[in-house]
Amino acid sequence: MSDVAIELNNISKLYRLGEVGTGTLSHDLNRMWYKLRGKEDPYAKVGEENNRESKGGEWVWAIKDIDFKVKQGEVLGVIGKNGAGKSTLLKILSRVTAPTTGSIKAKGRIASLLEVGTGFHPELTGRENIFLNGAILGMTKTEIKRKFDEIVAFSGVERYIDTPVKRYSSGMYVRLAFAVAAHLESEILIVDEVLAVGDAEFQKKCLGRMKDVSVKEGRTVLFVSHNMAAVRQLCTSAVVLRNGMLAFEGTQTEGVNYYQTSHNTNSEYIHEGTIETAPGNNSIRILRFEIKPMTGDVISISSGFEFAIEFLNAKEDINLDITFEIKNSDDIIVFHNGAILTHDKDSKKGKFKVSAAMPGCILNAGVYKFNIIFGENQRYELCVLEDFVQFEIMNESAGSSNAILPGVLRLQIPVEKSFSI
């Protein structure tokens, strides 16, 4: 099992930003001129690190010097933020586009599932599309014939198999498409986040199938996902990409932990520089804000979290109060909770430190933001900071499902039962 199934050597990919238009011709000619004289591509040098937020030149390394090996039978999770280079890496691995430098060596056929239902033709029936799609993904007609019944059974659309797929519901369409893909016989399978389709039952079926592919059939799988629970459950190892570079390589648990701790960079604010530039206004200046889990390294549903704020107050002799609001990703204020800091109109100039804790098993998984409101005499707003700091509560699987459960709250309430005939 220690055979290397796929090996990446210093894979990099350079992209030009902006539009391809009349201006590009001169660049092309310039490149050709350099090439003719046997020199290096002049634009390759100005390539910058892939960082969406900063502005820069027009050439960007979407991925740079990616170097790792995947053993046969291993399920490798590829994790990273949006724009970290995951898709580019997948495209290169599935030979949709070639790398700018570096090479990849693989043993066996590579089949990629960057999308389900590639090449489905709406006018053709389900049956015809199974054959067409299977062939596009690299199966031969005999292979598809042999697997046909299995595919149809897996998809659960037997009744509609001779109906054009344009009459299918979107769910049926996706089921059929995934069913074809799930029965590919290639030695290496590359899967993008296509599992985020269908209803919960079908998702479970897909994950189960993925597991079968690697465990029972010993095939190598590269799995790209944002679903940390799925990565943890399915994969045996993981790599983390950041700004187009390989940031971490290790087991799936280590990878997920690394990603989650490095991902939540936003959940802390430490002001550097002069006081005048700190967030706030002339009355209040915020110096520091941090959120951390009460137990463990990661804020999860059950861990709970503590937060602490340090600020400078400039208003004297008032009743100073502070209010925290936590807002979920739908901009719903989940709660609003205030505290009076000085009761007897005796506030003083100086640094306050306020901290609080939020017990676990109350908020559901998701991304949350803090609003912080400072008040004077519980009547006037001194300073309002909206969306000040963002943090994420990671999901924990409940029973067999990895999906985030619906609802704003994630309470565990005791259930009692009685039974009679």
Binding site: V96, T97, A98, P99, K105, A106, I110, E123, A135
Partner: protein, 287 residues
């Protein structure tokens, strides 16, 4: 799992930045042969789905074009047709030309029309142009049936000098030449238009103009001796002339022109495959 490589030393697949100029993987093309056939079937089936007449629609275009040519070039311009009935003469030309022109324009759109598939999954890109040539060949077959019916009618019921000559043995070669010429030129254009779309506009009316530079609506014998070489320089000229000579007994078979046409087709095809092969690896970044 049947073809897992036991030998750990050799890699079955190596992905590199650039392919060698002659790095054409015929074996891989062959492995995907089922895909070619399924794509042909898709094109053919989806063409007449939800129509009543079905494949008969393939016949409408040659019939109407022939009638139009008959009116404009036969009756109004009164161009001679090498002594054979004008309908058969035009129908032969229209059928062959339609196959070539259709193959050329369709294959020239290979990359732009299939970008969504190419962006998601790998298979040898040459599969698409090959399937286009083949599906057009089915269409050609149906249109040729019409041609043969009309030809038979004129041979039996009409008094004229139509006769089939020995050159019919070249028929398969002719069909192959038409297809490969369309393929070769088409993939050259498809490769050139991935980044700069300008050539696409040229192609649409270029094909129309080219028809007049080919003896479709007139026989080669009509061309003045001085300019004959110019028309014969078009590799399609020998094909259409040989075709008419074979089935209608019209015109003459010129071995020089014919050999030239074969050579030109091979060169175009070879150049096309080379350019196509060079572009296919990175076209997704520029299309």
């Amino acid at each position: 799992m049947k073809d897992v490589h036991e030998n750990t030393a050799d890699w079955s697949l190596v992905i590199k930045p650039k392919a060698g100029l002659f790095d054409i993987n015929i074996k891989e093309l062959w492995r995907y042969r089922d895909l070619v056939l399924l794509l042909v079937k898709r094109d053919f089936v989806s063409f007449y789905k939800q129509t009543i007449l079905g494949p008969i629609w393939f016949l409408v275009q040659p019939i109407l074009t022939t009638l139009m040519f008959l009116l404009v070039f036969g009756r109004i311009a009164q161009l001679p047709t090498d002594g054979v009935p004008a309908i058969v003469f035009y129908l032969a030309g229209v059928t062959c030309w339609a196959y070539f022109a259709e193959s050329l324009t369709k294959t020239s759109e290979t990359f732009t029309a299939n970008a969504s598939i190419f962006g998601k999954v790998y298979f040898p890109r040459l599969i698409i142009p090959l399937s286009i040539i083949l599906s057009n060949m089915i269409r050609l077959g149906i249109q040729l049936l019409l041609f043969f019916v009309v030809l038979a009618y004129y041979m039996i019921f009409d008094d004229n000098n139509l006769h089939i000559t020995w050159a019919v043995v070249l028929f398969p070669v002719l069909v192959l030449l038409m297809g490969l010429q369309g393929l070769g030129l088409g993939i050259i254009f498809s490769a050139l238009t991935t980044k700069y779309r300008d050539l696409r506009f040229l192609l649409t009316f270029g094909v129309q103009l080219l028809m007049y530079a080919t003896p479709i609506v007139y026989p080669l014998s009509l061309a003045p001796e001085k300019y004959k070489w110019l028309i014969a320089a078009n590799p399609f000229t020998a094909i259409i002339e040989t075709f008419r000579f074979a089935f209608l007994g019209a015109g003459a078979f010129n071995i020089t022109y014919f050999t030239y046409s074969i050579a030109a087709t091979l060169i175009i095809l070879f150049a096309g495959i080379l350019i196509f092969n060079k572009v296919e690896k990175n076209f997704m970044d520029t299309v």
